[in-house]
Amino acid sequence: MNKLQKFRIYYEEDNFVSYADPPEDPLKELSAFEMGLRNFCFECDRRFFIEVGDRTIQLFFDPDLCMILEDGLPEQIFNLSQGKEIEISIDESDQVIIKLVPVGQEIICTLRYFGLRCEEKKLELDKNQVLAELKRFLYQVMEMAVSQGYMKPADKDEFLTPVLGNDVKTGMVVRS
């Protein structure tokens, strides 16, 4: 019996009205790319889901995806591909830490919930499947941000450099 669970990230197509105020940078501290990312997540806000086995974590582009990207998702994916453990931390729309620990060709995933419920669940995942799914989602949302004018292609490519370089070599991604 296959003990490996499925890992999936996807978003809903429809926008909805966000309850947050538009992003601001009153002290002019953020770069154009950083503001572009925030504006993209706010103006294109929608639900997205991380499915791990039988667990579904419901999140939103604003602020959850924005925070995950700002936490350095490309570097994290690269680190995972190199056999290092990573944590994806969710603090706003849910309270859960997704810990991914590579063990050979598998990943031991621990979902550690905090906040109003403290609970931990462990699942076993296929490492290549997880990496492919993380990259697919990352490239998809970043392409959306570029195609809708929130950032320049060159800035997107720079952001994706940690994970992009190897995928260009393998033909997974065509540079814009």
Partner: protein, 144 residues
Amino acid sequence: MTNINSKIIIVKSSITDNTIKVGSGFQWTGKGSEPQWNNPKSTKAYDHIYRHHGAKKKPDSLKGRAASKNDDQGQWLNDEDWVKAEQSAPKHPGRYILDFQRPVGRVYHPDGTLTENVTRVVIRRNPDGTLKCGYPVVDSYLID
């Protein structure tokens, strides 16, 4: 009368890296210029706190978000308090619950109810010392 000088207590700590000290008063190790730690409007220091949990947010928006996300939404009463939270929290990356020992916020619940006069907040401090998030929480909120 509210004692604005009451001591802030660290109720719970979940330190992710105790080998470095970061935040206000310590050497800036993040990207670009050091943020203005004492300015609650600093997006660099306080990230999404103002937009999602600031004192000026209207009740309807927080009620709506609590319902749509099926998750408690905390709101600060005074924006200056998250500056105080940064100053008082341990200077290591991690997640912390602080008790101000005076009302600092309110919490909107998914069922439409409201808890006023909460004294506790949760914050997450990044590896560069800035706050990734911070919002008032009810006393039953745990980080481990």
